[in-house]
């Protein structure tokens, strides 16, 4: 469905990705794990068009999408829920959700999806007319996820959805990600919380200094001594 072939990208002279190849198949939940600065976020940014790859090719459903503008990538069914939530703090909750559906022209269906989001996230319904910046951290993360879903993506990419959340909320976010996948949306997720991510993932890639060093099923990576030592801090499963 989505394929990266030897993609390199960087900021100025700094190479953040060096020939990264990976694949996401339809219906999968794939995780990218690795330390800070390993290139996880850069991978998502290259896919969504925020960063044009310097070399390599990104294909989506057989079509080359590397170098397309974010709008074009989104129009093809790939939504990117960025790191740090990045909700629009001075827009209302409802306006934030509407921004997610900006490219959709089927107003009736958008209204139905909005109602469905309100059913799924009653807190967002209650605070519909409030500035999104007044929400709690957990509510903002739910809003960011709901906003990404409002585009009705075929593939949704989450960048560190559990970042900065209280432990109880972390579980809720991972449960939500599992629910989204179960509903038929393909998921590509970046997480520093490697343990939780690998438990959830069908497959995962381990990135180190801009390169894929290990890949496999979530369970295989969880069991891998290298991964356990380096990223799970020897924690017991």
């Amino acid at each position: 469905m989505l394929r990266l072939e030897a993609v390199s990208a960087g900021y100025g002279r700094i190479a953040a990705l060096k020939a990264v190849s990976l694949e996401v198949r339809e219906g999968e939940l794939v995780c990218l794990i690795g330390a800070n600065g390993a290139g996880k976020s850069t991978t998502l940014r290259a896919i969504s068009g925020l960063l044009a790859p310097g070399a390599g090719r990104i294909t989506w459903q057989g079509e080359t999408i590397s170098g397309l503008a974010p709008r074009e990538v989104l129009a093809r069914g790939i939504a990117h829920c960025p790191e740090g939530r990045r909700i629009f703090p001075h827009l209302t909750v409802r306006e934030n959700l509407e921004m997610g559906a900006l490219l959709r022209r089927d107003r009736a269906a958008v209204a139905r999806d909005l109602a469905a989001m309100h059913d799924r996230f009653p807190r967002l319904a209650e605070r519909s007319r409030q500035a999104a910046g007044t929400l709690s951290g957990g509510e903002q993360q739910m809003l960011a996820i709901a906003r990404a879903l409002m585009s009705r993506p075929k593939l949704v990419m989450f960048d560190e959805p559990s970042l900065g959340l209280a432990p109880s909320l972390v579980d809720a976010v991972f449960a939500l990600v599992a629910e989204i996948r179960a509903a038929g949306t393909t998921v590509l997720m970046v997480e520093q919380n490697a343990m939780a991510a690998l438990r959830l993932a069908d497959r995962a890639y381990l990135l180190e200094t801009g390169q894929v060093v290990t890949q496999g099923t979530g369970a295989a990576l969880l069991a891998s001594p290298a991964v356990r030592d380096a990223y799970l801090g020897g924690a017991t499963a």
């Binding site: 925020l50 709008r71 990117h80 629009f88 001075h90 827009l91 306006e95 921004m99 997610g100």
Partner: protein, 290 residues
């Protein structure tokens, strides 16, 4: 007391057009981070276009004001596409220099096209003031106030109620995330600059018939527009509106009660006071994130 009411009316008329000027400038700064030195020249441009359409082509007065505004929007779009878009990644100093250069070119072009002698724009309104109790006001000035109020309201509705307005405000807050939602940032920039320029041209076309039209009329007005925007808080739309009216009232009252000669100076004195006591402006812009 009677004089106070009169000044209040005059200050409101002046403040309305100042608010138009301020909103156009603050919007461009807020969304594009561009310090727009051509703003005062767009005001001049609007006034000259109104002159050309009304006095030379003898078109209908109101139609001429509309066309002058549309031409201002067009000139603004051209400036954005030809000068600002190629400099998207340039630093703010270079962009500032280019805008100062563009302002000089525009001003000299006005001088070259129209000569240095001031022009009058005829208007169809009766020259007799309307007298309402202690207050008398020229119908033309009432018309100016009504149009300025309608433009302010229309602009607010555009930003608050339309999809385009929501996208514009989202871009203001976080351009990168707005791009991820499918907003064409380049297009929002062009539209913002064009609309801001259109508001300046509208203000010029409205005030041209009230005062006189000359190639340097935009100098002081451009400076005042900056003062309004700084007064209200850079990048803040409510701030620019309040700042515009505040400047209008201060000029009018200081001109009326203290000294007509120094009315402009009082406006700038107000800016100095606000900056000394409340440097973030009256209504600070909502901070950017990301």
């Amino acid at each position: 007391m009677d004089q106070t009411l009169q000044h209040l009316v005059n200050g409101t008329v002046l403040g309305g057009t100042y608010a138009l000027l301020g909103i156009g400038l603050t919007l461009v700064f807020g969304i594009m981070r561009v310090v727009n030195f051509t703003h005062g020249e767009l005001y001049t441009f609007g006034a000259y276009m109104a002159y050309a359409l009304v006095a030379l082509l003898q078109l209908d007065f109101i139609l001429s004001l509309v066309l002058a505004t549309v031409l201002g929007i067009g000139l603004g779009a051209a400036i954005e596409l030809l000068l600002l878009r190629p400099m998207r990644r340039a630093d703010i100093d270079s962009v500032m220099l280019v805008m100062i250069g563009a302002a000089l070119v525009l001003q000299n072009a006005e001088m070259w096209a129209w000569g240095g002698v001031a022009k009058l724009i005829p208007n169809p309104f009766p020259g007799e003031p309307l007298v309402l109790g202690p207050v008398s006001v020229l119908p033309l000035r009432l018309f100016v106030l009504a149009v300025a109020a309608a433009l302010l309201l229309g602009f607010w509705l555009l930003l608050d109620r339309t999809r385009f307005g929501v996208a514009m405000r989202a871009t203001f807050q976080d351009p990168e995330t707005a791009a991820l939602m499918g907003v064409r940032i380049g297009w929002v920039n062009t539209a913002t600059f064009a609309l801001g320029s259109g508001l300046a041209a509208a203000a010029g076309a409205l005030l041209g018939p009230v005062f006189i039209v000359s190639p340097t009329m935009g100098d002081l007005v451009g400076l005042k527009a900056f003062a309004i925007v700084i007064l209200g808080g850079l990048g803040s739309l409510p701030g620019a509106t309040i700042g515009g009216f505040a400047l209008g009232y201060v000029e009018e009252f200081a001109g009326g009660f203290v000294s007509t000669e120094y009315r402009d100076a009082f406006g700038f004195l107000l800016i100095i006071l606000v900056l000394a006591l409340r440097p973030q402006g009256l209504v600070p812009a909502k901070e950017r994130i990301g």
